[in-house]
């Protein structure tokens, strides 16, 4: 993988259901799974696959990203060899068409692309929950001398698809067509992860400068007949976080032992910024089951089927069920929460009851006191 550069995109999430969580942070730094941020999965996968030059494109709300990643030390990325670059995306405003890969973001960072050593670029969005090794796909890419390799997944009925998904037709592993809508009977959908030759990418950037068309997927689709575009399959667990529903589902998936094991135990680790908290304290009258719990918590109540982040304080005679409680929340005594998502730094006073619905959880905004 020495010959490849990793590039993690910035995604401007427009789904209104996540709006409240994204006022002060980018989608890439949305807290997930008790201690992570979404980007941890993609970044760790890249590092674990052996990539040692990785660029991360940030949004205008870059504080949380910069604070989280630092110089990448927690991901074994070295400042000495400039393994991690945090890049500013294009500030050019948004175009009408929602793009998979906005080449303007890359154009803005041509320097990074051109100076980083490596002939191939592995591109991924920051909002995938998966433990994925890029080495297989890279092998396929190399063996076929591909210009582009698109990573796809077989669509089964349980899978959560999105309106803007792209589908592929394959012929002997080669991509024969790319659809924006599921028009035909194809069951391969594009995961939004791809490998592309740097030289081709640079050509696209030059071309876009003239044509004004800036979506990489469009460029690939248009040039499908002249380029060698192959495909590689993603077989494991994958969830893409684009809506609150996705987020809830993927969070609760972690409570299934097999999924938790695939993400955290079987393969290489998912790294994240280290917080030095005390071990979680379970008090005398606490009763916790079927949950994920971060460190630094002080729990004195009943928790069931929930995701509890770091540094939560929970009073006695309180109950939390089917909820996601982000870091540093304080929950008083005699509180009942069911189907609630609390953003960080929120407080719930004593004797409060909040009961949401499975498909319509109650959202509590960052910093709120109830």
């Amino acid at each position: 993988m020495k010959n490849a550069i990793g590039l993690i995109l910035n995604i401007d999430c427009e789904d209104p259901s996540l709006k409240e969580f994204l006022q002060h942070r980018s989608l890439s730094t949305l807290p997930f799974g008790g201690r992570y941020r979404l980007i941890d999965f993609t970044l760790s996968n890249m590092v674990n696959s052996g990539l040692s030059h990785i660029g991360v494109i940030g949004s205008n709300k870059y504080n949380s990203l910069v604070d989280h990643l630092g110089t990448g030390k927690e991901w074994s990325l070295s400042r000495k060899t400039q393994d991690l670059s945090i890049l500013a995306g294009a500030n050019s405003g948004r175009l009408g068409h929602k793009m998979k890969v906005n080449l303007k973001d890359l154009q803005n960072n041509r320097d990074f692309l051109e100076t980083a050593s490596g002939e191939h670029v592995i591109i991924s969005p920051p909002n995938h929950i998966t433990s994925f090794d890029y080495r297989n796909a890279y092998e396929i890419h190399s063996q076929n001398n591909s210009d582009v390799t698109l990573i796809y997944k077989k669509d089964d009925s349980t899978y959560h698809l999105h309106d803007d998904d792209i589908y592929l037709d394959l012929y002997n592993k080669r991509v024969s067509s790319i659809y924006y809508k599921k028009e035909q009977q194809t069951n391969y959908f594009f995961t939004e992860m791809l490998i592309i030759k740097k030289s081709i990418l640079i050509q696209f950037l030059d071309l876009c400068e003239c044509t004004g068309d800036w979506d990489l997927m469009d460029m690939i689709a248009i040039n499908l007949d002249t380029l060698r575009v192959f495909s590689a399959e993603h077989t494991g667990y994958l969830k893409r976080i684009k809506t609150l529903e996705n987020y809830m589902k993927a969070s609760m998936d972690l409570l299934e032992y097999d999924i938790m094991r695939e993400l955290f135990l079987e393969k290489a680790s998912i790294h994240t910024k280290i917080k030095d908290n005390h071990p979680s304290i379970y008090r005398d009258s606490s009763s916790v089951s079927h949950s994920i719990v971060g460190s630094g918590c002080n729990i004195d109540g009943t928790i069931f089927h929930s995701i509890i982040f770091r540094d939560i304080i929970m009073g006695s005679d309180s109950q939390i069920k089917n909820s996601i409680i982000m870091q540093k929340c304080k929950i008083g005594n005699h509180v009942t929460l069911d189907y609630v998502v609390m953003d960080k730094d929120t407080k719930i006073s004593d004797y409060t009851t909040l009961i949401g619905k499975p498909h319509d959880p109650i959202i509590i905004k960052k910093g709120t006191v109830i």
């Binding site: 955290f264 998912i270 030095d276 005390h278 379970y282 994920i292 971060g294």
Partner: protein, 374 residues
Amino acid sequence: MNTECVAMLLAGGQGSRLGDLTINNAKPAVLFGGKYRIIDFPLSNCMNSDIDVVGVLTQYRPYILNNYIGDGSAWALDQIQGGAHILPPYMGQKGGKWYSGTADAIYQNIDFIDNFNPEFVLVLSGDHIYKMDYSKMLCFHKAKQADLSIAVMDVPWEDAHRFGIVNTDEEERIQAFQEKPAIPKSNKASMGIYVFSWEILKKALQEDAGNRESEHDFGNDVIPMLYESNKRIYAYPYSGYWRDVGTIQSYFDANMDLLDPYCEFDLTDRNFRIFSNNISRHPQFIGPEAKISNSLICDGCIVCGQVEHSILSHDVRIHRHNILKNVIVHTGAIIEDGAILENCILGGRARIKGDVRLIADELESVPQIHVINS
């Protein structure tokens, strides 16, 4: 380079009374309270006291300790100048010498201390659990114009015979020392924390090094020598939680203190944090049939059984149908389906079969603590 005060942390001891817990590991690197190691406490105290040069004297099996301390960044001790420095015994042109006593360890590193040209040297040991702002002790030392200040605390009179006891006048100046006295004259016990004026200490160490009779120990040799030569020795009064964890029983008890909500020693206090060199692990997975109460649990644990009044370090796996009570489990231990454990310390990577039953004998007043190693 000028630093007002350099801390020297004695971390070379084996801690043989901790038995199996120190076979491969120096005592200061033994796990405590789940995720901490004993040395976290003095190091965090330094950090909270704005002391940013710390020499750590190692000798016994230092590999885990060296790795753990690293560049000191876990305790914010990674300044450009200053920081944590590991000082093993070394060979010079005339051959090498192991550290033959606490005072000898400092003596052999006089050059290191002189690098920083300090006015004061704080001598600490790596085997006590406590929180202390050393900068206050330094202020006391300066205010008294002392040559040496010794931190002392009141112990129950009935325990005084087990400690080094000091007698002071009204000004806190020490008038007499008694080492584990049969008939203690006071209940002020030395905590093994010293602030020296470096000039005085340096001279004393050089003198002591030339003394063939000396065992080169602070308590037995250097301090009595200073006392006899009429140096200004003061007792800095400390009150608060302080535990020596030199035996299995005291180690076990101090761990269990952390589970006592009324214990004054508070790991959650944000104003005086205890730092540690964290490893990154997934969050705790608490299984559907788990039952946890009154426990400390670290990241990376998977708990599917019953855990009561226990402390689980990182990466512990508790399978189903277990009962753990008053158990300290070190990193990576696995307890299989059905085991029942009480009053145990499980060493790192210990593996307990499902048919194990270790239950305290109700008849004994102090239940025996089982230590099970990997």
